[in-house]
């Protein structure tokens, strides 16, 4: 037990001191955050734009901070174009405000283009309302989109497919990264001990199964820490979500069976760490291992891409199959659970299959680990591995 604790603690300490762990831990939130923030950070704040307006338009009546509209009735468009300078634009309005041509000496920023589109649409609508004799309030009511709610019969909560797809994509990416990171982490740790022949020393004092289990448990603990960290960051991100979306999001997140998802994720992590550890024991170099490591990656990749395509249809037969197949269930079942389309029987069966496979994987990995760890100087073929396991 003491040796077990020593190995467990060393694995945890080593990973926590490794920059790669922190990179993985921060990578996903970093990518997510950057993809939202970067465009805003990179965009230079545009200077106020002076816009000359030619033609039949109410634009001149609009007052906004980022642009000033100047009606020009006497000048010809061509002479104005010649006199345009930086931060100046010219709008030539068509009849009844149906079409607009905008000229400038340089590209307008995306924000300026978007603001102009919005204002011109507003102007067109107001013009139309005026000609039809509609009040501003009546126009606003006409413009307001109808409330549409989707419900699935037999479910108490409202279905929000768009949000489900978004959450599913995020979760599947996160779980894929998590399982891959943990798997490669234990593979490299095993490989390091084998390549440096430290294992020859370690195995005098601890049994191979003990060494393997301590490593796997350490990885599992770190995974739980990562999940907790990501959940914390997610909650922090929620504080930045607009009020209107927040109630919808929190309502939906509350409806997700997080505990069950957690079981699937942890069982998946255990299964894959066992398999990757066994893979690490069969070779002495990363290059030799790449084939085996890729073979372990295939089911995960298959599941990941299937989920990206099928997350809009959680009841799809392929997704149902993947959520029961133990090597893909850790990715696929959480997605179906988020969508809320899984019966208790299906969920229990899938978890049972996954747990049984994880236990079998652990047994298989322990045998490979014991048989292959002290073999040096030869690349283990599948046939040789099979013979070793039988011995």
């Amino acid at each position: 037990m003491r040796s077990f604790a020593l190995i467990y603690l060393r694995e945890i300490k080593v990973r926590l001191r490794d920059w790669r762990f922190w990179l993985g831990f921060l990578l996903l939130p970093l990518i997510g955050g950057l993809s939202l923030l970067l465009p805003r950070l990179l965009e230079r704040p545009p200077k106020p734009l002076q816009v000359y307006v030619i033609g039949d338009s109410n634009l001149a009546q609009i007052r906004v901070a980022e642009m000033a509209f100047v009606p020009v009735s006497a000048a010809s468009p061509d002479s104005l174009k010649e006199h345009l300078g930086p931060n100046q634009a010219l709008i030539v309005a068509g009849k009844a405000g149906k079409a607009f041509q905008i000229f400038s000496t340089e590209d307008l920023s995306l924000t300026q283009e978007e603001a102009l589109r919005r204002l011109l649409h507003q102007v067109k609508t107001l013009e139309k309302a005026r000609t039809l004799g509609l009040s501003t309030q009546a126009l606003a009511e006409l413009q307001e989109p109808p409330e549409v709610h989707f419900y699935v019969l037999g479910k108490s909560t409202e279905s929000r497919k768009g949000l489900v797809m978004l959450l599913s994509s995020l979760t599947s990416s996160l779980l894929y990264i998590l399982i891959m990171m943990t798997g490669y982490s234990i593979l490299l740790s095993t490989l390091e001990e084998k390549t440096n022949r430290l294992v020859e020393y370690l195995l005098i004092y601890v049994k191979p199964g003990q060494l393997l289990t301590a490593k796997v448990l350490a990885m599992l603990s770190l995974t739980m820490l990562q999940l907790a960290g990501w959940a914390g960051m997610g909650l922090l991100a929620l504080t930045q979500v607009p009020e209107s979306l927040l109630s919808t999001l929190t309502g939906m997140l509350r409806g997700v069976p997080w505990l069950e998802i957690g079981f699937f994720v942890l069982a998946g992590v255990v299964l894959y760490t066992f398999l990757y550890a066994a893979a690490g024991a069969t070779s002495e170099s990363v290059t030799e291992l790449s084939g085996l490591a890729q073979a372990l990656q295939w089911p995960l990749l298959l599941g990941f891409f299937a989920l990206l395509t099928l997350s809009s249809d959680p009841a799809h037969p392929l997704l149902r199959f993947l959520s029961h197949f133990p090597l893909t269930a850790p990715l696929a079942m959480p997605i179906r659970l988020i969508a809320g389309s899984v019966s208790l029987v299906e969920e229990s069966l899938s978890l049972l299959l996954l747990l049984l496979t994880a236990a079998g994987g652990g047994y298989f990995a322990a045998r490979v680990y014991r048989a292959a760890l002290l073999l040096y100087g030869q690349k283990l073929s599948w046939k040789a591995l099979w013979q070793l396991l039988q011995a």
Binding site: L6, I7, E192, N196, R197, Y205, L374, Y376
Partner: protein, 301 residues
């Protein structure tokens, strides 16, 4: 201190071309208080024997005992082991991995710290707080040696402990092993440096193709394998001397030669016959070295 008894130990491995017999019914007793050399060509089964003793592999047949007791994990905790191709965790400091590995060996943290302190002083290792990847091969080997020596072991099993060491460090370690053997420790070391065995080892085991070909104390073996060769230096040139009948000689210089005298020839009349022709400056028995014995045994197999 007890002896290590190897009784009829056999071990085979699966190889790409079928089973490979690494050891065949090997039996011997390794005495304590002596530096015992485990000799043999590459692939002869030396490392396999050390691994079997340390429980890293199980014998197909036979038994290994420490005294009267079959080897088990609790005994192995008192055995210091230095594997052949050794390494350390590259990113850990030498001290922290010594602390970790010694605790795995069964020492408490304060005991491990005290042992590291003691051996660091004895082996002059002021660099223990550096990461292992920054240490030279010799430095790393000293760390491994501390690992084997710490915790007052009953036995030391060292697989090629001198490979890659500079002569000064090697000499220091040789002296250390002699000291420990005199204290009664059982020391079994596998080595390729046969010239070193004559000076360092008091007992040798020679394994060839998985079979124990030779075992015994070094002086006895040298005497056993002595082929009545003598070395002589004379005042008269060697070529001008008439040697008694049956003597063969090989010149080592103009006045120096190796003589092989028939075993039944008494040495006194032989010397008298030579002295009638020349003065003798130097005359001694030329016992074979362990290297000579090694070559003789492995060539005849």
């Amino acid at each position: 201190m007890r002896s290590l008894v190897i009784a009829g130990v056999s071990k085979a491995f699966r190889g790409p071309q079928g089973p490979v017999q690494a050891l065949s019914a090997l039996s011997t007793t390794i005495p304590p208080g002596k530096v015992v050399g485990l000799l043999g060509p590459n692939g002869s089964g030396k490392t396999t024997l050390l691994r079997l003793i340390m429980g890293l592999a199980l014998p197909d047949a036979g038994e290994i005992r420490y005294g009267d007791e079959p080897m088990h994990a609790a005994i192995r905790q008192h055995f210091g082991y230095m594997p052949e191709e050794r390494g350390l965790y590259p990113r850990m400091t030498a001290r922290s991995q010594l602390l970790y590995l010694l605790q795995l060996k069964g020492l408490s943290r304060p005991e491990a710290e005290a042992e590291i302190q003691r051996w660091a002083k004895r082996l002059d290792t002021p660099w223990l707080d550096r990461q292992a990847r920054t240490l030279s091969k010799g430095m790393q080997q000293k760390v491994q040696l501390i690992l084997a020596l710490a915790g007052q072991p009953w036995a030391l099993l060292l697989d090629e402990p001198f490979s890659g060491l500079d002569p000064l460090v090697a000499a220091d370690i040789e002296a250390l092993l002699q000291e420990e053997a005199q204290k009664g420790l059982l020391i079994l070391l596998s080595t390729h440096r046969l010239e070193q065995v004559d000076l360092l080892c008091q007992h040798v085991l020679l394994i060839h193709k998985g079979v124990l070909r030779l075992a015994g104390d070094v002086p006895t073996l040298r005497r056993t394998y002595w082929d009545h060769t003598y070395e002589i230096e004379t005042t008269l040139p060697i070529a001008e001397i008439t040697w008694p009948e049956g003597t063969t000689w090989q010149a080592l210089g103009s006045h120096r030669a190796l003589l092989r005298i028939p075993p039944d020839q008494p040495i006194r009349p032989f010397l008298e016959a030579v002295l009638r022709q020349t003065d003798i400056r130097f005359f001694t028995e030329k016992l074979p070295t362990i290297k000579d014995i090694f070559l003789k045994v492995t060539e005849t197999v």
